[in-house]
Subunit: 498 residues, 2 copies
């Protein structure tokens, strides 16, 4: 008979196997599955999630965790086993409060709402989506009500994506960012930047060849990664040696380039997670915020920087000589960093991006706390878009209906995008302190030290510790807005707008 | 509280969901997965199969089946519910005898043996494979020993693939086939048929375009099917509206053409299974023999027939004008039907194919009954290949090591290939009786009546009845070798060799 710790590990490994398989099903659905397969796929995904949930919250898990309490106290708290027991207990105590029937209902409602949203967005018809959204929000309120001693209801939702991070921790960071972004955007929006050459004729097959070359150059190993086209780019995978990233090819612009670098950042994190802990909760990603710090670091700090383009611009020009052959590097660099308030979050530049997230973070709290009528969301959305970014929203498809998250029940998720972006600059500083010539290396097309530093300081930590502790161990401090704001000020005000 | 039947259906649906997901993982592994993902994939597949097995053999399943006994007696035995209870009880009573640990060990040993086989075949080194094969055979013997009142040990293995079919049922059929094939092959092997134009330069991209056109023409719906390249063609899928067939493109010949039609036949069967029973055991394929009757019907009765090529040959010539532009239809038809004993089963013509299967069927019984030493398999294989087909086997890679089955623990499987081939002719006759102008329809490129007849008479029966009863309901008789032998005699002796 295996001891309690071994038994716990076996139980958890099975649960994590089921979750990994469910992720692969989602990847398949969005890249490979014939459209008509959606109905049976929903059943399969539901069955996997239900069984995983049941097995995780089974009494036996609780019994093993109880039995391990004294053992845990005797272990070095930083040891893998102590971290495993701690994280598992936290997950278990959270999950066991949620009735399986509520979990199932949340999954079912989200699955139905997603379909409603697709059609509502296509017709730009918020009213058609409203009942499904109301149902999702109502179920989230019931979910929140499963917990006691809550400072703010939104804490519970945020914690699902950014563990041990409270709304009250995030609010001052975002307030500080907002206070500087609003005037910075007002200042930069009128700077005239020529970028007409970024729109035109970019044949998808040449984009595909280019981004495949790009990710190989960054370090994607073909024996353990795939890159496929999809509608909305994402990163997924079944394990550290089975990484699946996706991108989208818009024939009229180079969105695929930055989307692919972004997803490469996510993929590299997954690929460099501790492989000896692969089937255990501490072997997974720490939080969505830490995940996003990796994708945003690659997308922005690397992919929108001069050193990278000094290395790679000639290759890009070769791919699109008609569009870019006559555009010199500096003009291109300025164009891809143009600051211009716009409607769609995923197309926003580095400066305006934060305001898109802050708007959602604020709105979500109002939704959960009942401070707004859901029926009035479009009006409030459009008002705030004008207030924060000075743009007029022409229709709901380009406004409140643009993101998939709420339709999938993902409330509390958006904040992690900006938390990750803020942390990406702190991590970059930590990296530069240890690898002072990293920009010269990038300019030579060498990414090995960059990958290795991230692997050692961030990725290999897995989920042993909560995100802020993970960040502290990587760079010596927890999240601060200042480095991010200074980075924006330096890059966009002092350099580009000078 | 749902009644016992509803509860049983829910339990079974979950088990079938897990099995469908496991099939999709296998498809993914052979078409999409990066090579390094194999290790974690084995864990995921193992977990799915273990959980499916545990949930199926759980005491609760037995309790529900007991509770349903009187209800079953009161139902029309042909009703879906009666069939469901009957089939589930049969599966349960078989499966519950097998210790979970033995199942797990069989799966693990097969997974390991498969890897050993890949390397052994590459080096044509049977000795390297022998220990893994011995382990697989030993575990199959232990599996057989879980059952009582067995006529022949091999019955248990055969029953896994062809339910309610005994070795003693198969033996006389195969003996009758063998008695006619041996002289027929001897007679036809010396007939000179020109087929040099079937070997040469067939660019894979043009093959791919052609077979995609072909399956669309036969009736593959793009919203619910996929066709992808792989090393060894197979058909799979996650449901009736998620059908995945695969093929392989050899740049020097047209293997892909017949492989694709074959897999199309399997795919169509899956696609036309009763969709209201999709997540239940009676909604699946009846047996591997019935499955193969469908693939062989499309491959041989349709795909190697004159009517089809009268319709499609011009399209083929357009794809490969250098190879086939100057070859008239009848020469092509004779070439694709050339009878020539050869080494590899999957490349065998219609006449010699049966002997490849009979050889394996006989050998497997000897292996399981301990009548041969496994170490002597290559020698026995080569001897019989000479005796049955008159060919000399130059090495084990082209001999005893050619098939993947034994390495995957699939003993008892081969027979279904010939059972299906024999039945395919009986089904064809049934079809022609109801659709007398089917050949004219095929010649016009119309496949709708053919698909509909198979759908109604074979596919829609699902697994309500055992294979012979399914055949009897489709065509009014159970398996007989005579129609198949008459078909071969007519096509190859009276027509082609005349």
């Amino acid at each position: 008979m295996a001891d309690a710790l071994e038994q716990l590990k076996q139980r958890l490994a099975e649960v994590y196997d089921l979750q990994a398989v469910a992720r692969l099903l989602t990847w398949d659905q969005q890249t490979m599955m014939p459209a008509a397969g959606a109905a049976i796929r929903a059943e399969h995904a539901g069955t996997l999630r239900r069984i995983a949930h049941e097995r995780f919250i089974a009494g036996e898990t609780g019994r093993l965790l109880d039995e391990l309490r004294s053992r845990e106290d005797s272990l070095d708290p930083d040891s893998d086993d102590a971290c495993l027991i701690r994280i598992s207990r936290r997950d278990y105590e959270k999950e066991v409060r949620v009735p399986t029937e509520l979990r199932a209902e949340m999954a079912r409602a989200a699955s139905q709402a997603r379909q409603v949203w697709v059609e509502a967005r296509a017709k730009s018809d918020f009213k058609a989506f409203l009942p499904a959204l109301e149902r999702n929000v109502e179920l989230r309120r019931r979910y929140v009500a499963c917990f006691e001693n809550v400072d703010e209801p939104y804490d519970i939702l945020l914690d699902d994506f950014e563990p041990e991070t409270k709304t009250a921790d995030v609010r001052p960071i975002f307030d500080e960012v907002k206070a500087e972004l609003v005037p910075l955007i007002a200042e930069l929006r009128d700077v005239d930047v020529e970028d007409g050459f970024l729109t035109g004729d970019f044949p998808p097959d040449r984009q595909e060849a280019l981004v495949k070359d790009l990710v190989r150059t960054l370090g994607m190993r073909p024996d353990s990664w795939r890159l496929d086209p999809t509608e909305h780019p994402f990163a997924s995978g079944a394990g550290v040696d089975d990484i699946r990233i996706t991108t989208a090819y818009d024939p009229s612009e180079l969105f695929s380039l930055f989307a692919t670098i972004h997803e490469y950042g996510h993929g590299l994190y997954q690929h460099q997670l501790p492989r000896n802990l692969e089937r255990l909760p501490i072997g997974t990603a720490c939080s969505l915020g830490i995940h996003e710090s990796q994708s945003r670091l690659w997308e922005n700090l690397v992919g929108r920087g001069r050193p990278f383009w000094r290395f790679y611009y000639a290759r890009l020009q070769q791919s699109f000589p008609e569009q870019l052959g006559g555009v010199e590097l500096e003009r291109f660099y300025r164009a891809i960093n143009r600051v211009q308030p716009s409607l769609i979050r995923i197309h926003a530049d580095e400066v305006t991006y934060g305001m898109h997230v802050i708007l959602r973070f604020e709105l979500e709290q109002d939704m959960i706390n009942g401070r707004v009528e859901l029926a009035e969301l479009p009006e409030i959305w459009n008002q705030r878009m004008y207030e924060y970014l000075g743009v007029e929203v022409p229709d709901d498809a380009q406004g409140v209906l643009q993101d998939v998250h709420w339709s999938s029940g993902l409330i509390g998720y958006f904040a992690t995008y900006l938390l990750g972006t803020v942390m990406s600059v702190q991590i970059w500083h930590g990296l530069v302190a240890d690898v002072p010539d990293v920009e010269e290396q990038i300019e030579r097309g060498e990414f090995g030290s960059l990958r290795a530093w991230l692997g050692e300081h961030v990725h290999a930590q897995g989920r042993r510790h909560p995100p802020q502790e993970t960040l502290r161990r990587a760079v010596g401090e927890t999240i601060r807005a200042r480095p991010y704001l200074d980075y924006l000020d330096q890059k966009f005000r002092r350099d580009l707008a000078a």
